[in-house]
Amino acid sequence: MDALLLQLLNGLDKGGAYALIALGLTLVFGTLGVVNFAHGALFMLGAFVAVAVNRLLSFSVQVRDESITFFEAYKQQPYLEIWFGDLGLAVIAWSVPISILVAIPVMLLIGLAMERGLIQFFYKRSHAEQILVTFGLAIVIGEIVKVLFGANPIPVQAPPAVAGPAPLGAWLGLSENLVYPWWRLIYLFTSLLIIAAVFAFLQFTTYGMVVRAGMADRETVGLLGINIQRRFTVVFGIAAIVAGVAGAMYVPILPPDYNLGMNFLVLSFVVVVVGGMGSLPGAVAAGFLLGVIQSFASMGAVKDILPGIDQIIIYLVAVAVLLARPRGLMGRKGVMET
């Protein structure tokens, strides 16, 4: 029972990341009609916002380490520690939550720049051309990050208060040995919160209503005198924020490298296709579903029967879903169909 609960939770927190990226992909596809292969790069850029904030806060001076006598050794002492003592160290320790706040405006700007600077010129081009140009953009962004931060993953820790395990068993009246990492729980609940916020924005605000109307019939909304294009540009920015925040929050779970976006992009496209192209609820549902399936496929008992199944299960599920429901779980008729 405990094992199943833990595996379910684990699948949900993985699924949270898949769902957030897939949600942004679907938003962009649904509004602008662009298949954005650079969306994974936005997730990666969000992660590197967290890295950059951490480096900025940890900016240090080299101090001679007197405890080492047989060669000249130095240790790093952050300026924040020199200036503010323990308070400075605490600020550095909380760099990831701080970076989430920083990521929101930074990612909005990056998103707007990406849409206005490049992607808007490809609205009326074929999907194949959109894929080529956005894939190229993803490679360029990845290489820039590689030049700036190097090729290797950079670890950044969660704040000490939430770096350890949460007493899940005690909360639920189950075994006291049942624990789950605090940060993963926070990630899961933040994912759900962001997803709810995006849906609420689209469902319960006038702005969101116009966007939905534009997604359904762009021409008619335009005839009503609404500049739907500007609103879609804002939606692109929102999608970039969602991906960026998801990336920044993922840093304590997985140290990012320049290739992080590509690793997630492939999975996220599978999620979008399984959920149904253009369907926001489909993307979210498929994200969580595939995360949970992948998690259960990693259990020793399952791998004993089917070795290596954890590596291919997502693709097997995708094949099965597409065979049974070619439009995906919640796909609409006519989307990406000739």
């Binding site: 405990d2 094992a3 833990l6 595996q7 939770l9 684990n10 699948g11 927190d13 993985k14 380490d65 405890s67 080492i68 047989f70 060669f71 000249e72 050794a73 130095y74 240790k75 090729a151 290797n152 993953p153 670890p155 770096a163 350890g164 395990p165 040995n177 049942l178 624990v179 789950y180 990492p181 940060w183 993963r184 779970i253 997985l254 140290p255 992948q294 998690s295 990693s298 259990m299 020793g300 008992a301 791998k303 070795p307 954890d310 590596q311």
Partner: protein
Amino acid sequence: MGIFDGKTTRRRVLKGGAALAGGALVAPTVFSRGAWAQNFRNDPGDSGSVTFGFNVPQTGPYAEEGADELRAYQLAVKHLNGEGDGGMLNTMKPLALKGNGVLGKKVEYVTGDTQTKSDAARASARRMIERDGVVMVTGGSSSGVAVAVQSLCQEMGIIYMNGLTHANDTTGKDRRRYGFRHFFNAHMSAAALGPVLKQEMGTDRRSYMLVADYNWGWSVEESMTKVTEDMGWETVQSVRTPLGAGDFSQYLTPVLDSGADVLFLIHYGKDMVDSLTQAVQFGMRDRQANGKNFEIVVPLYSELMAQGAGKAVSGIYGSSNWLWSLNNEGSQAFAKSFGQEYGFPPSQAAHTCYVQALLYANAVESVGTFYPVEVIKFLEGFEFDGMGNGPTLYRAEDHQCFKPVLVVKGAENPQTQFDLLELVQEVPTEQITYPHDLYPGDLGPYEV
């Protein structure tokens, strides 16, 4: 008056014949350095320099180890060329090197990135051999890479001095005539760790293993399972995880409900840092199972991993090939030299690579030629000391070094920022030695 001046007499012909015969007898010793000049690949000939190939992971899960290996190789080149303080050239015995390069030729080097992938490593090694004309390739870290590159080097007739590779296969079933390993292996780790684990954790334990899914992981899994089960432990489950998985949470959650009270993390490099950090996040350091403290064991430890995992390693047992803090003159000479150069002490990966570069150079200097067959014959059965591990033998039958193995644990009360691992026991060579045919393999021919 010359022998052949046109006035041929019987006496002169006899004189000439005697001179030629005498010359033929003397030639192998007088001209020995050039005797094989036409017969082997990448012979440096009369060039004033010779090139080594340093093929290390600069990206991928073992990149940290690769970076330290490269530092060590660069330091070795300095010392070979007579620069710096000489490091272990001051302590190595027997020593033929003179600090003027190798056979008087200045040592230069090229580097490659294995990416911790066998195909990339082979491509990089091939480039070094074919384009850069290296006389020797060396590097690591990954047994998958080691076996692949060693095999390529055998085919191309270039000696491969393995860096950090720990699988039994490297000098077992995949041993090669042109490949040599100074580093210890999984069998030795298990033989050294077993008695310590028995003493510290008892004989009634249930273990769970997370295993890197390639030849190194399988080797350690096999060796550790045998040793622990022989002392009464039960293996509850052994799960293989992909190299470079990053997020190991899906493999860690089943451990919590498995009934196991010991977790073996058979991961290395960044994978080990990730899996150990995540295991700690899942509360495995403060856990009770079966009425005992839950324990984590990392069969192959390194300072770089300990540094990456931070406080999570405190008190966790493992084995190591070498520690910079060992109290012997070779270790101290190397640690001092490396520390002065880079500002921090070397890792075991750096140590084994430095030693391998020196051992190859010393072998060449000793036999007076770069001809690989002679170098191989010199290294087979070579006994040396002063390189940080005490008296060491390069066993001829499988090209595996035999020396004491260190059982270590994460430092609990570090005195300096570099006290990451502390020595628990130096296990003597006799305890970890095994017959060369325990893991049967074929070295292959000398001439290729």
